[in-house]
């Protein structure tokens, strides 16, 4: 059977399924829908659903019982469910916690009262019918919290694996734009890094380090059972809980995809009860949290004068035309320079978020509708992020044995502007430093563009536009719309035997529009007029899972929970691409996209339907529990993936874990006064990873339309290999073996609780993109090597005060991780990779290494050794203009052998106009061969942190609440490429530099009369000894030469006060008058301070750069990162 037919079957299945789930049908676009609507069943179901939503059901009145439900602090509860046990009659408490319902026999009737977050209570009426006082106990004991573990949930006390969880109510108190941001610093062993500060910055989530090298190390995201690419498009307010499965004994149920951890997001479910409307909203403004200092105008012109003077008379005459004569330069002392950081990042930002949710229903049918609008402004002008979310959840009990739920999640995200989007793309944020402080005599620098290379030309053009104007030349819009529909049906076949089918369908529409203005290099390559491209990508995800769960007891003490299931996942994409050139400069980009036919001669249309990724799985889990004391979980999953060739498709992933609840042992009875929990857990499991691009196992051809041959003066599209990598039919699963041991403890009735865990993970058969020597190919995908991650995680929770009107708690988590590359391909100990931040300008090109016995993320380069001093030279030859390096004779004290060497020069490496002379940047001749070259590099930095974590405090006092959250990273190093590019002339004419390159702290050749000094003694007097300069001359480097050196590797440790929130909830007595059951206002400060020694904008940085397929191997680069902001927020939470 062909795949397309398969899909049709799945579609058809979905149609049948949607019959049961009426709203799914509404959205489905096929004509068959009409048929279904016409069917009798459909009409009935639809009407009944409408009725149940809109109507309130009352039972027949016989005896009316009234009362009030309160919580353990005496506060009345709104929306508590009160049901007469054994009947269908029930009601919901009102604003004052009051209820009234009819009972047939008050003498024997028992009321069942329940409320979310409270223990359910059975209340026998015993004939009493009025003024019932029912008090519910808080269910806050974390041990009873339900934890989602994949295809089911468990009480935390019964867990055998390692799971970190966070509840939505914790997230919702703090205003953030995304779910990932809200998680930062909260979960032990889960490191969350934002690539930079742009509003659409990528969130990089790593669970326990991540085992892959080239393979994607992202965890598996599961949103309401549905696999997702990321969780960026979920409104934080819609989240019920996030559970992160960390060890294979928990992730094995997700098998293949669980090797890097599983992040399970459960969106809010309908709670039922009386209809409530809530509104949550905030407004936010922000500003650049840190500024970098550039040279002031006078220093700036001095720097460029020195540069000009070093080039001789021609240089000075060009300089004079731009900036004036030497004697007048002091005039610049009084000039105020351009503040390019303000121009680039000084936008007046107003961000806002509004969420309205509607929750209601009755005992049988519950619904939740939630809509969120979020607009996050960027510091850069015309750069922002807008998102609409709608979340609809419907739960319905068809009969006692049949329950169904339906969920629709729609999101629509727009990003305006390119931001920094990957470092070297379009505008570089480092231009905020390097753009000229002043433009000199004329507005425009007089240079001859004909003498420049293409890159220099671009730089020249850019130097003559304000950064805002440049940004407008690179117009970009991204729009991502996701429509996700899921549904499930639970059929209680017999008591304790539940069959569940869940399925879902997700459709994504993604658009990317680019516009290049006339002054861009791209435009100059065609006809010098604006051009556009437009990529539309549609994604399809289908999922179907069937599970059968059987819970039973054997005898008194043997508890079993068995589950078996089957699942299918399919993901496919298709895209089309439009390209057209030659538009009028008068038209706005929006106009152009609406009228593509106005384009000039060059048009290009491409479409592609890449091969789908399909996965078929079978899985099972057995949980055994003896006397609630000994717990055992066994899991097995088999996954077949279409990414591998037949014969290698199936991977098998078993796991076993056990736990011992020591506290339940009789011999522990004495300790229970103070010890409330003690549990030891151990687990071992296997998980897999197949997260590689499709089509790596066999070759095929697809039509190519870029850089074609110009036969007949037209474009000649051609057949080219679909993948640029050499196909490898032998690819198979990458497998992670995890060992986990954990201890959960709690004291004083869980007032102090915590967990300590140790893990040791080994990943084998890494799916590695390795560079090869082969005709036509430079890389292939192979299963090679082995990595390991070991670590310890600790989390602690303290609830010091827990009273009605006051509470105070603190939490702390920390994760230590040590990763190691155990093995690479046979015979290979080192592999080199390029971060690509400077493309081929970067000396040595490869600035990262993967090395056996070391963690991933080693920065590789030269060791800075200050600068050449006059004492390194014998003499200066005025005739040739050359400095003669000194010959040094050393005697080895051990052998008595004397060696004679000149001071090692950097031959041709730096390419600077000053060559090798006093003040030239110096690097260590590590191999001692008398010359500094490519062979004198070593590991100069390690980007993996030793530990990461966070801590926070929260408290309430009467109506006030306050919280603080800190997060920290320790022991990592950052490769500050921005600093390199901003401390020399890099791809720019007359650039400015960071302020440490001032006349006083850099080696200078310029005397007080504006002459270049060549005499050794004078240079020494100016720059050495008593006047020793901190830095080398920036003219050590050529305009297109940058070099990774130890100087740019900085300590990246930091402690950040991520946010401080103070809120006030107006007493319910007051708010009730305005029909509000809750009204809270709050203010938050985000990114309040960062304690760090890092000199760049922010130590939390990871700019993905060119050639991103290996960007996981080149972490910690700071180049053109979008700076982070400090923000103020005011918001309200209102419930009606």
């Amino acid at each position: 059977m062909m795949f397309s037919q398969n899909v049709q079957v799945l579609y058809r299945f979905m149609h049948i399924f949607s019959c049961l789930l009426a709203f799914l049908c509404l959205i489905k676009r096929y004509e068959k829908i009409i048929h279904y609507f016409n069917s009798n069943f459909m009409r009935k179901l639809f009407c009944s659903l409408l009725l149940t939503i809109l109507c309130v059901c009352y039972a027949n009145a016989q005896t009316t019982v009234t009362g009030v439900v309160k919580d353990d602090t005496g506060e009345s509860l709104l929306g508590a469910s009160v049901v007469v046990k054994g009947t269908k009659g029930g009601t919901i408490t009102d604003l004052n916690g009051k209820f009234s319902l009819s009972v047939t026999n008050p003498a024997t009737a028992v009321l069942k009262v329940s409320y979310i977050g409270m223990k359910s209570l059975e209340f026998p009426l015993k004939g009493k019918t009025s003024d019932l006082q029912i008090q519910l106990e808080s269910n806050s004991n974390q041990l009873n919290e339900m934890v989602v573990v994949g295809y089911g949930s468990q009480k935390k006390r019964d867990l055998t694996g390692s799971v970190s969880s966070i509840q939505g109510k914790e997230l919702s108190r703090i205003p953030v734009a995304s779910a990932g941001e809200a998680l930062t610093g909260r979960l032990a062993g889960v490191q969350i890094t934002t690539s930079d500060g742009s509003p659409d910055a990528e969130l990089i989530i790593r669970v326990r380090g991540g085992g892959s090298i080239t393979g994607d190390n992202s965890p598996l995201y599961v949103v309401d059972g549905f696999p997702a690419n990321n969780i960026n498009d979920i409104a934080p307010g819609d989240i019920q809980s996030i559970d992160v499965l960390k060890d294979a004994s928990s992730t094995a149920i997700y098998g293949s995809r669980g090797a890097n951890g599983v992040v399970i997001v459960t969106t809010k479910r309908a709670a039922g009860g009386k209809t409530t409307i809530s509104y949550n909203g905030f407004m936010q403004t922000k500003k650049l949290s840190k500024r970098l200092d550039a040279l002031d105008p006078y220093e700036y012109v001095l720097l460029n004068y020195e540069n000009a003077a070093l080039s001789g008379a021609d240089g000075i005459s060009a300089f004079t035309k731009t900036f004036g004569v030497w004697d007048d330069l002091t005039l610049y002392k009084s000039q105020r320079g351009h503040d390019w950081q303000k121009d680039m990042f000084g936008s007046n930002v107003v961000s806002q978020q509004h969420n309205i949710s509607l929750n209601g229903g009755n005992e049988k049918t519950r619904f939740l509708l939630s809509t969120t609008f979020n607009k996050d402004g960027g510091l850069m002008p015309s750069n922002d992020y807008t998102r609409f979310n709608t979340n609809f959840n419907l739960e319905h009990e068809i009969s006692r044995s049949l329950k169904t739920s339906f969920n629709a999640r729609l999101s629509d995200t727009k990003v305006n502007g390119s931001g920094s989007a990957g470092g070297t793309y379009k505008i570089r944020t480092s231009q905020a430093i390097t753009s000229p402080a002043v433009k000199g005599l004329s507005e425009f620098v007089t240079v001859d563009p004909a003498t420049m290379t293409e890159e220099e030309y671009t730089q020249w053009v850019q130097a003559n536009l304000s950064l805002t104007e440049q940004a407008a030349q690179y117009w970009k819009r991204t729009n991502t719309r996701t429509y996700n529909f899921t549904g499930s049906l639970d059929w209680k076949i017999v008591n304790n035997l539940v069959y569940r089918v869940e399925g879902g369908y997700e459709y994504g529409f993604n658009e990317l529009k680019n516009y290049w203005g006339e002054i861009t290099t791209v435009a100059s390559y065609v006809d010098g007029k604006p051009l556009v491209d437009w990529t539309k990508t549609n994604t399809n995800r289908l999922r179907l899972a069937n599970t059968l769960t059987y819970i039973f007891k054997l005898g008194e003490n043997h508890n079993f929970n068995l589950m078996a299931g089957q699942e299918l996942n399919s993901y496919s994409t298709n895209y089309n691409y439009l390209y057209a050139t030659g538009f009028s400069t008068d038209l706005s980009p929006d106009r152009i996209f609406a009228n593509l036919a106005l384009g000039g001669t060059t048009k290009n249309i491409t479409s592609n339907f890449p091969v789908a990724n399909n996965q078929s799985s079978l899985f099972g889990r057995a949980i055994y529990n003896f006397k609630e004391r000994y717990l055992l979980t066994a899991t097995f999953r088999a996954d077949g993936s279409s990414r591998f060739a037949p014969g290698h498709q199936w991977g098998y992933f078993p796991a076993l874990a056990g736990a011992w609840r020591m506290i339940e042992e009789p011999f522990m009875a004495d300790t229970r006064k103070w010890l409330s929990n003690l549990k030891l857990r151990v687990g071992y499991g296997v998980a897999g990873n197949s997260n590689i691009p499709a089509g790596q196992t066999s070759s095929s051809y697809s039509i190519q339309s870029t850089k074609t041959y110009g036969l007949g003066d037209v474009q000649n599209n051609y057949w080219g290999a679909t993948s640029s990598q050499l196909p490898n039919p032998d690819l198979k699963w990458e497998t992670t073996y995890t060992r986990n041991a954990g201890l959960d403890f709690g004291f004083f009735n869980e007032k102090l609780s915590g967990t300590v865990e140790y893990y040791n993970n080994t990943t084998k058969n890494l799916l590695l993109q390795i560079p090869i020597t082969a005709p036509g190919y430079t890389t292939t995908m192979k299963n090679v090597g082995q990595t390991s991650n070991k670590g310890v995680e600790i989390s602690l929770n303290v609830q010091l005060i827990q009273k009605k009107n006051a509470s105070f708690g603190a939490n702390f988590n920390i994760g230590f991780n040590k990763s190691n590359v155990d093995k690479l391909a046979d015979g290979v100990n080192v592999q080199e990779y390029a971060s690509g931040w400077a493309g081929t300008d970067l000396k040595g090109y490869n600035d990262y290494r993967v090395q056996v016995g070391e963690p991933v993320g080693l920065i590789y380069g030269w060791v800075n050794d200050g600068y050449y001093k006059t004492t390194d030279f014998d003499s200066y030859n005025a005739a040739t203009g050359k400095y003669v390096l000194k010959t040094v004779t050393t005697t080895d004290p051990a052998t008595g052998v004397t060696t004679t060497k000149t001071v090692a020069p950097t031959i041709g490496m730096l390419g600077g106009k000053i060559g090798v002379r006093p003040g030239t940047a110096k690097y260590k001749d590590l191999n001692g061969d008398g010359v500094v070259d490519d062979n004198d590099r070593q590991i100069i930095g390690r980007t993996a942190p030793k530990f990461t974590g966070g801590f926070g405090f929260n408290g309430t006092f009467h109506g006030f609440d306050a919280s603080m959250l800190f997060n920290f990273v320790y022991g990592n190093q950052i490769y500050n490429a921005n600093k390199i590019a901003s401390a020399q002339q890099y791809r720019a004419t007359n650039p400015n530099m960071l302020s440490f390159m001032s006349q006083d702290s850099r080696y200078t050749y310029l005397d007080n009369n504006g002459n270049i000094v060549t005499d050794l003694a004078t240079l020494a007097a100016m720059n050495e000894g008593a006047n020793a300069k901190a830095y080398w001359s920036p003219f050590s480097f050529g305009n297109a030469t940058v070099l990774p050196s130890s100087w740019a590797v900085e300590n990246g440790s930091y402690l950040r006060l991520q946010n401080v929130t103070v809120g006030y909830t107006i007493p319910t007595k007051l708010t009730k008058k305005f029909l509000c059951s809750q009204f809270r206002i709050y203010g938050t400060l985000n990114n309040v301070f960062v304690l760090t020694n890092y000199t760049g904008y922010d130590p939390e940085v990871n700019t993905a750069v060119r050639g991103s397929s290996t960007s996981g191997l080149t972490p910690g680069v700071d180049y053109s990162a979008y700076p982070k902001s400090f923000s103020w927020t005011l918001g309200v939470n209102v419930t009606f």
Partner: protein
Amino acid sequence: MKTTKYIALIITATMFFTACSDFLSPTSLSNFDGNYVFSNSGDAKKMVLGVYALFAQDSYTSRMSSVWMQNTDVEASAPGALPDGTRRDIWSLQPGGLSSFGDIKTAWDHNYLAIDRANQCIEGIQKSAVANQKDMKMLLGESYCLRAYRYFLLCNFWGDVPYFRKAADATMQLDVPRTDKNIIYSGMIQDLVNCEPNMYFADEYSDGIERMNREFALGMIARLSLFRAGYGMTAGGVMKRADDYLDVAHNDSLAVTYTIDGVTKVARTYTEYYQLAKDYAQRLIALKPRLLNKNYATIFLNECQWIKPVNDDVLYEVAFGNTNGGGDVGWCIGVPVTASSKGTTTIQVGLTPSYYFSFDQKDVRRDATISKVQYSSDTEQGTLGITSLATNKWNRLLLTTSPGSTSSKGTGINWPLMRYSDVLLMLAEAENQLNGPTDLAKQMLLTVRTRAFNAVDYSQKVQAYVDSVSTNKDAFFNAIVNERAWEFGGECLRKFDLVRWNNYGQKIIETRAVLDNIGKAALGLELTKPEVAKYASYAKSLYYIKANGTITFLNSYYEPTTAQINNWTVTYGTVTLVDWAKSLYAKLTATDGSVTYQSANFTTYSWRGYTDLSGTSAVPYLLPISSQTIATSVFLNNNGYLLSSK
């Protein structure tokens, strides 16, 4: 119960669905397999176009085709004072330190990608059910030509290189050591000898000279044979012929078997390869004779105007489309244009002043080849300095369809790879090597030279000249060396010609000496020396007038007399002058007033990497293999080949 029925249906559907094993082998509507793409000539052509497409990459358009073909005695651009780790170190013959220069890796990778694509085409077409169709045979021939041309580039830029005749697959040994270039040349020649009879001549199909046709294949056999007969860099860092160090007599992979006029021959020694070159040049002339285009400049004007005549001078030119930003001819090479309605240039290929002076004054090729002016608008000319001479053959202002005022690259001007006059001169050269300056050799030189002069100058500049250089084999060879410089200036054939002739070093030393001597003469220095004195009359400055933006030079070669200058002033009013020969030597005045002289920067910098004053040792012309490539290979390294930078 109704719901139960639905559940039953769901379960059935699910079971049915999971039973399908094809679920795990999905196919894509956008992907095609090898059988399909070679099942008909239309799609097979699209495969071959994939090989051609790599000509459209920067690695070729502005690197291997032209900018990297410097610095010789003809094409040269002056780098800065010191190596800077970029393309300028290639110009200055100091490429040893460029192993991490990304452009070098890209060029290497693109050559091998082209070769692998060609290998896929060769295998696919041979296996195709329609392999016997004429169109398919043409495509097969083109694949061989394209592969041969890419190996030609590899062997010239990198010397001995890994040699693959089969398309890569994971089961092959993919990391292999260098193979001697002479084995590769022989293999490529044999392929072309075999496939050439089945190819179309340019006038036999619609795509003309923009695809590698039969005349190109024949010319390429001659060219590769001359390279196989000539010299190349060996690992030991010396220039050798195959015969000097390889067992040409017994190693069959150094032999080519071919049949010409019914006689089967085997070429093994360099003499036999000269014969092979001669045989195939003659075969082309016999099969497709033609007259040379009367007007030398028209050949290149045609390219600027996208005119592609068949049976004309150009046998094959690389086609750049007017769309999609194709080609850098008229951007990195050609007449400099700093601003115009048709965009701007970034000229990176220059011509030497000594080359300018080497032309006979009457040779029409000089002004067709060398531009002394640049444009700052469509009509406004300015002078170029003598050390910034540019190629006059291509000029973006001549484009008939304007690419736009802010355009730069992507002119769509085609790039000639083989011209008929090249075949004639190769024949002359091969014949001279075999038999000395025979009538056949002389006739070829005469034919090429005839076009270079006006009819009135024929007897003196063509006939008498050819006679004067035909006294012996060496003299005639020298004439061929000169004639190829004059005929192909700016077409960037020189570098590899000098390599195969093994006179690269000698030409550098000669050029430096000529430049210095002309400069000295212009400054009136050392006039007692005959080698200086002979340039005493050369133009120290050029005098020109400018009308409506157009510059007219009043002298071009000799310094005018005072009387002449006075005369010009009377005739034209204002006469402007630009420094010419006197820019070729530098006068330095120190602060104490003392004066010293030294070579011009152009002379000092341009061939900085070659320091042997005797001119006999090898020129370090080979590029290093990228350090990234080396890192992945157990065989490849940059040992030898004069690549060690220390």
